[in-house]
C-alpha cells in the first residue's frame, strides 16, 4: 500500500509541477518574445477557465504593452500580464454597510456552490470584527438546509432565524429583518436555496425576497453576494449576468479555490458585469474565508503564488 500511496503522490505533484514548469518555460525558457510565446500564454489562460475571448483580449493587450514599453525579455512578461489581469479585476472591494441601522446581506447562487458554508464563515468573520450578527435560514427547500445553517450557528455562536421546512422564503426574510430592527443587530446574513439561473420561477422568488426586505428597510438588502464555485467553467458568466439582472448582485464570493481549479472565469465576468469579487473561499472550515486580493489572484493564475 505504501508504494501505491507514494506513487499517487508522485503522480499528483507531477501534474502540478508540469503545470508550473510549463508556465515558467513559457517565460524563462526563451530568448525572445515570439508568436509561440503568446500562443502558450493564451493556452495557460484558457486552461485556467479564463475563456477564449477574454484570453485573446488579454494577450492582445499584452502585445500592445510589449510594444509600448519596448520589452524584449520574456522574463518580464509574467509581471506585465499579471498587472493587466489585476487591473481588469479592479480595486480591492469590501462589504458595504448600511449608513445606519442593520445591514442586510442576501446570499444567492446556483446549487452546491457554497452559499451556506460562506455564510457560516462570514458570520464568524464579522462577529470577530465586533459586529452583532444573525443568520437567516432562507433555504426552506433543500433537505436539512436549516439544520446545516444551525450547525454553523452553533460553531460561531451566532443566532439563526428560521421557520419550518417548506415555509415561504420571503416570510423568513421578513422575520429576519424584523429581528434585526428589534434586537439592535448590526448585520443579518440571509441564506437562500440554490437555484439555477435559467429557472424563471425560482428567480422570481428571489425578487420577492428582495421586495420584502426593501419594504421593511428601504435600501435593503445592502449587499447581494453571488457565490460562484471556482471549479465552474464558462457557465459562471451566465450565472453572473442573470443573477445580476434579477437580484442586483453587488459582489462575488469565489469558493473552492483550495482545489486545482483556478476560477479564471471571473476575469470574463469582470469584463462584462463589473461586479467586484469580494471574498474567496479556501476550504470547508470556519476560518477558510479571505478578502479577495486582485494581485494575489492574478499571480495564482500562473501558479507562482503560495498565497491562495
Amino acid at each position: 500500500m505504501a508504494g501505491f500511496f507514494s506513487k499517487l503522490k508522485e503522480g499528483l505533484t507531477k501534474t502540478r509541477q508540469n503545470f508550473v514548469e510549463k508556465v515558467e518555460e513559457v517565460f524563462t525558457g526563451r530568448k525572445k518574445i515570439d508568436e509561440e510565446l503568446y500562443e502558450e500564454l493564451e493556452e495557460v489562460l484558457i486552461r485556467s477557465d479564463v475563456g477564449v475571448n477574454t484570453s485573446f483580449e488579454l494577450v492582445e493587450r499584452l502585445r500592445k504593452e510589449v510594444k509600448q514599453r519596448k520589452l524584449s525579455d520574456p522574463n518580464e512578461l509574467t509581471a506585465v500580464l499579471q498587472e493587466l489581469i489585476a487591473e481588469l479585476l479592479g480595486e480591492e472591494s469590501s462589504l458595504t454597510f448600511a449608513k445606519q441601522g442593520p445591514t442586510i446581506i442576501l446570499v444567492v447562487g446556483v446549487n452546491g456552490v457554497g452559499k451556506t458554508t460562506t455564510i457560516g464563515k462570514l458570520a464568524n468573520w464579522l462577529k470577530r470584527d465586533g459586529k452583532r450578527v444573525i443568520m437567516a435560514a432562507g433555504d426552506t427547500f433543500r433537505a436539512a438546509a436549516i439544520d446545516q445553517l444551525e450547525v454553523w450557528g452553533e460553531r460561531s455562536g451566532v443566532e439563526v432565524i428560521k421557520q419550518r421546512e417548506g415555509a415561504d422564503p420571503a416570510a423568513v426574510a421578513y422575520d429576519a429583518v424584523q429581528a434585526a430592527k428589534s434586537r439592535n443587530v448590526d448585520v443579518v446574513i440571509v441564506d437562500t436555496a440554490g437555484r439555477l439561473h435559467n429557472k424563471v420561477n425560482l428567480m422570481e422568488e428571489l425578487r420577492k425576497v428582495k421586495r420584502v426586505m426593501d419594504r421593511e428597510i428601504p435600501g435593503a438588502p445592502h449587499e447581494v453576494l453571488l457565490v460562484l464555485d471556482a471549479t465552474t467553467g464558462q457557465n459562471a458568466l451566465q450565472q453572473a449576468k442573470l443573477f445580476q439582472e434579477v437580484a442586483g448582485v453587488t459582489g462575488i464570493v469565489l469558493t473552492k479555490l483550495d482545489g486545482t481549479a483556478k476560477g479564471g472565469v471571473v476575469l470574463g465576468i469582470q469584463g462584462e458585469t463589473h461586479i467586484p469579487v469580494k471574498w474567496i473561499g479556501i476550504g470547508e472550515g470556519m476560518e477558510d474565508l479571505r478578502p479577495f486580493v486582485p494581485e494575489d489572484f492574478a499571480s495564482a493564475l500562473f501558479g507562482t503564488s503560495q498565497k491562495v
Binding site: 499517487l8 471549479t231 473552492k256
Partner: protein, 305 residues
C-alpha cells in the same frame, strides 16, 4: 456564441462553390471555429486539441454529401465523432449475482452525491429492489440529516452511525443489509478534493472494506477545464465504474462530459436534471453532443440528410 458556430461555418464555406471534396485549407478554417466552440463549451484544452486533429484528418478529402453544404458536412462529422467518443454502455446499474449490490458515490464538494444517492435508491426501488442508503459523510454539517430526510421522503431506510469511522460504517451497513433483506447498498460519501491525500485514503479504505460493485463519480455538469484533473485523480486512485453528470437542467453546454470520457474512458451512466427525486435519466451521447455544440436545430436538419 453557438448559433455563432453554424453561422461562422456557413460563412467560412460560402466562398466554397459547388460540392466536390473537402480540402485541407477549408477544413482547417472550419476547425478553428469548432475549436473555439468546444473551448467555450468547457471541453478541456488538450481534449479539444486531440479531438480537432482527429476530425480534421477524417474530414479532408471526403466527398461532400449531395444534400449538405460543406459546412454542414463538417458539422456532421464533428457530431458523429463526438457521439462515438462519448458512447458505450449507459444507464444501467449492474446487479450483483449475490446481494447486496454495493454502490459508492464519490466526488468533489457540492457535486450532488447525496441527492443522487437518494435518486438512485428511488429508481432502484421502483425497479423492485430494496435499497439501503448509507450515511458515510461524517464531516459536512447535517449531511446525515440530509440523507435521512430524503430517505424518509422515499421510504427508503437510511443506515448511519453518527461520526464513526466511514470505513466501519460502510462495513456495518453490509451486515445490516444482509440481516434486513436489503439487496442494494448505496453509500454516500463526503465531498472532497482530489488532492486531499488523507480523504482520498479514506475512500480507498471504504473501497477495500466493502468492495463496491459500482464506484460512481458524481460530477457537476458546469465544471470547467479542471474536470479532467478531478476525474483522472479519482479514477487512478479508486478505479471508477462510471460517472453521474449532474445539474444538466441548467444551461451549461456541459463540455466536461466529453473531457471526462476522453481522459478516463469511463462511461457516463446517468444524468441529473433537477433537484427532485425523479430527476435522473440515462445518458444519451447524441443529445449530449448536440448540447455541447449548441446547435440542436442545425443538427436535426443534418441528421435527416
Amino acid at each position: 456564441m453557438f448559433q455563432g458556430l453554424s453561422e461562422k461555418l456557413q460563412e467560412t464555406f460560402k466562398r466554397l462553390k459547388g460540392k466536390g471534396k473537402l480540402k485541407e485549407a477549408d477544413v482547417s478554417e472550419a476547425m478553428r471555429e469548432v475549436r473555439v466552440a468546444l473551448l467555450e463549451a468547457d471541453v478541456n484544452f488538450k481534449v479539444v486539441k486531440d479531438f480537432v486533429a482527429k476530425v480534421k484528418e477524417r474530414s479532408i478529402g471526403q466527398e461532400v454529401l449531395e444534400s449538405l453544404s460543406p459546412a454542414q458536412h463538417v458539422i456532421k462529422i464533428v457530431h458523429e465523432e463526438m457521439i462515438e467518443l462519448m458512447g458505450g454502455a449507459t444507464g444501467k446499474i449492474l446487479i450483483a449475482s449475490k446481494p447486496p449490490t454495493v454502490i459508492m458515490l464519490i466526488g468533489l464538494q457540492g457535486a450532488g452525491k447525496t441527492t443522487h444517492a437518494a435518486k438512485l435508491a428511488n429508481m432502484l426501488k421502483k425497479q423492485g429492489k430494496h435499497p439501503l442508503l448509507v450515511a458515510c459523510d461524517i464531516y459536512r454539517p447535517a449531511a446525515i440529516k440530509q440523507l435521512q430526510v430524503l430517505g424518509d421522503q422515499l421510504k427508503v431506510p437510511v443506515f448511519s452511525m453518527g461520526q464513526d469511522n466511514p470505513r466501519d460504517i460502510a462495513k456495518a451497513s453490509i451486515v445490516h443489509a444482509n440481516q434486513n433483506g436489503q439487496d442494494v447498498v448505496i453509500i454516500d460519501t463526503a465531498g472532497r478534493l482530489h488532492i486531499n491525500e488523507e480523504l482520498m485514503g479514506e475512500l480507498r479504505d471504504i473501497k477495500s472494506s466493502v468492495k463496491p460493485h459500482e464506484i460512481l463519480l458524481v460530477v457537476d455538469a458546469m465544471t470547467g477545464q479542471d474536470a479532467v484533473n478531478v476525474a483522472e485523480s479519482f479514477h487512478s486512485d479508486l478505479g471508477l465504474d462510471g460517472v453521474i453528470l449532474t445539474k444538466l437542467d441548467g444551461d451549461t453546454r456541459g463540455g466536461a462530459a466529453l473531457s471526462i470520457k476522453a481522459v478516463t474512458g469511463c462511461t457516463i451512466k446517468f444524468v441529473g436534471i433537477g433537484e427532485k427525486m425523479d430527476a435522473i435519466e440515462s445518458f444519451h451521447p447524441d443529445r449530449m453532443a448536440s448540447r455541447i455544440l449548441g446547435m440542436g436545430d442545425v443538427l436535426t436538419l443534418i441528421e435527416k440528410a
